[in-house]
């Protein structure tokens, strides 16, 4: 082996071994760093929205994407660190103080970027409803032809129980060229039966249809599942009432109602327990003519 070759091999080995050592050292220093409570820890924004726009030069679209992805990761990280099944529209307990400024910056950098407005309209009301309204109004101002934003603003008002404002917002959205006919129908529906289950079903069904965000669609789908479950529970209570009228008592087990479920076509498991929309069996409160979701197995949101 000549000297040159030996030198090359030695240098190559130094590079490989040195890089491996560096990686190991990084891992080691990571373990030495004191642990931080992930819920207490909060990153800070690099820049505020106006400065970020100025500093982005011609790259504001890319910077907006960066802030959008950071928003998603911010929420994702909080969700991973949390325990239990948390719905996207009820993240109030997760200390999300940076979400509004992150979404605000993304939309200042790229005012036509609709998804951050929509995401904010779904997630922010539980954290800070005024911020949610402000962000969605900002989106409407920048994109007056985006009827979906009126739908989301109407949804925020509807969730707050402000049915008059929700109805007016849907009415404004219905005037936008290209808005679907159901926006007009929603105006009347909220006006006449604001807090009803059928209004909720209509809103979540439209949200599921229209949203391009998987998380929002999942959230809408869960709400629809819950609404279906509430309908099912009402149906089961009717069955209990009929059974009680016939026998003078409440059923002690699902098996007693099995023939009725079979006749009506209600899906059941092997123990004749009816299944909720997520496929988990309902629990019967024996002797009380009452039904409830099984918290351990169901995927239907409880509230």
């Amino acid at each position: 082996m000549n000297n040159e070759r030996l030198k090359s091999i030695t240098l190559g080995l130094i590079v490989v071994v040195g890089m491996s050592c560096a990686a190991l050292l990084v891992r080691w220093t990571d373990t030495l760093r004191p642990p931080v409570d992930p819920n207490a820890m909060d990153e800070s924004l690099y820049l505020n929205d106006k400065t970020a726009r100025r500093m982005s030069l011609g790259f504001n679209g890319l910077a907006a994407d960066w802030y959008w992805m950071r928003s998603l990761q911010y929420v994702g990280k909080k969700l991973i660190n949390s325990t239990g099944d948390i719905s996207l529209d009820d993240l109030s307990g997760l200390n999300m103080k940076l979400l509004a400024p992150l979404l605000d910056t993304a939309t200042t950098l790229d005012p036509e970027f609709i998804e951050p407005y929509e995401y904010g309209a779904v997630v922010l009301p539980a954290i800070d409803v005024q911020q949610a309204i402000r962000l969605t109004e900002k989106g409407i101002k920048a994109n007056p032809n985006a009827w979906r934003l009126y739908h989301h603003l109407g949804y925020i008002y509807w969730r707050q129980g402000q049915y008059q404002l929700a109805s007016e917002t849907y009415a404004r959205g219905a005037q936008v060229p290209g808005a679907p006919a159901w926006m007009e129908a929603m105006t009347a529906k909220i006006q006449s039966e604001g807090g009803s289950r059928s209004t909720a079903r209509e809103i979540y069904a439209r949200m599921y249809e229209q949203s391009t965000d998987d998380q929002v669609r999942r959230m809408a789908s869960k709400h629809l599942m819950r609404l279906d479950s509430l309908d099912q529970q009402d149906g089961l209570r009717k069955v209990f009432a009929a059974y009680q009228a016939r026998t003078g008592r409440c059923p002690d087990s699902w098996r007693e109602l099995g023939p009725i479920f079979r006749a009506v076509g209600i899906p059941m498991d092997q123990a004749a327990a009816p299944l909720d929309p997520s496929g988990a069996p309902y629990l019967l409160k024996a002797g009380a003519c009452e039904v409830e979701l099984d918290r351990k197995t169901t995927k239907v949101p409880l509230k």
Binding site: R54, L57, G58, F59, M69, F113
Partner: protein
């Protein structure tokens, strides 16, 4: 090897200059010879290797961005692709642009060129066109790369594909402007200072709207005039930023593209004239 090739290039180019003495459109012929030479040199200097990095960036983005962007991969691909095109192009325009003249002086090949009947203006414009050709190839390949990435993430035709090309054209015009600025600075200062000044021009060029706002909001007449003058004198590069609207499927109006192209050509002509003026006064004896 490189030095030999460069000498060969210079020899070829000067042969072209010799031929041009016989031709009718001599000046154009000479400039095109220098431009081809500058292009070949850029290729040999591995300037186009940045395309490999670009392709890797887009490939990684196409595969992984879907996971991170919440279903916005098409927008992110366009933003990332066109921004990278502008960024890489800017680096080429600055770092290659400032060395166009300087390298010829340092290698002393400029003496061989000027011993032939080649005007200094022809030399500068030829060099400029050569780098513009390099940037054109770069931008075209990157544009195709973004289109292919869109085809991949959309699993077929994507309506954003035709809308990115007007934005690509505007990016190219911006890079042409920036190259001219780099050439101007390099005609009288060192490469490091030229690169810094060109980069600052790029930054200020994107702040031009703020300069105008500043001029309007200032109380003092002198300051107002100063910032208004700056607004009109510095290249208005913010007009060439059409990346974000392109990512939303919007295209600029034909009139706007024409106006910005016309502005770019006028500005480039002015800068090249100024560069030639300065360069003509330099003593190479």
């Amino acid at each position: 090897m490189d030095a030999q090739l460069r000498t060969l290039d210079t020899a070829q180019a000067t042969t072209h200059y010799e031929k041009s003495k016989l031709g009718g459109s001599g000046s154009l012929w000479r400039m095109s010879a220098i431009a081809r030479n500058a292009f070949r040199e850029a290729v040999r200097d591995r300037v186009l290797y940045n395309l490999v990095l670009f392709v890797l960036l887009l490939t990684a983005a196409s595969i992984f961005i879907g996971e991170l962007s919440g279903g916005q991969e098409r927008k992110v691909i366009v933003d990332l692709g066109l921004s990278a095109m502008l960024l890489f192009g800017m680096f080429i325009a600055i770092f290659v642009g400032v060395g166009l003249v300087y390298k010829e002086i340092e290698r002393r090949t400029i003496y061989a060129v000027f011993s032939k009947p080649v005007g200094r203006g022809e030399f500068l414009v030829g060099k400029y066109l050569g780098l513009c050709l390099t940037l054109l190839v770069n931008v075209l390949v990157m544009g195709v790369g973004v289109s292919v990435a869109l085809l991949y993430v959309s699993r077929g035709w994507d309506p954003l594909i035709p809308t990115i090309w007007p934005a690509v054209l505007l990016i190219y015009l911006e890079l042409m402007l920036l190259t001219a600025v780099a050439l101007l600075f390099s005609s009288f200062s060192s490469p490091a200072l030229s690169a810094l000044l060109t980069f600052l021009t790029f930054v200020i060029g994107h702040f031009s709207a703020d300069l105008k706002t500043l001029a309007v909001s200032l109380g003092s007449t002198g300051a107002r005039l100063f910032f208004t003058a700056l607004y009109y004198l510095l290249p208005n590069l913010s007009n060439y930023s059409f990346i974000t609207p392109a990512a939303h499927g919007r295209t600029p109006a034909a009139g706007f593209v024409f106006a910005t192209a016309f502005y770019a050509f006028v500005y480039i002509a002015v800068i090249l004239a100024a560069a030639t003026l300065i360069f003509s006064r330099r003593n190479f004896k």
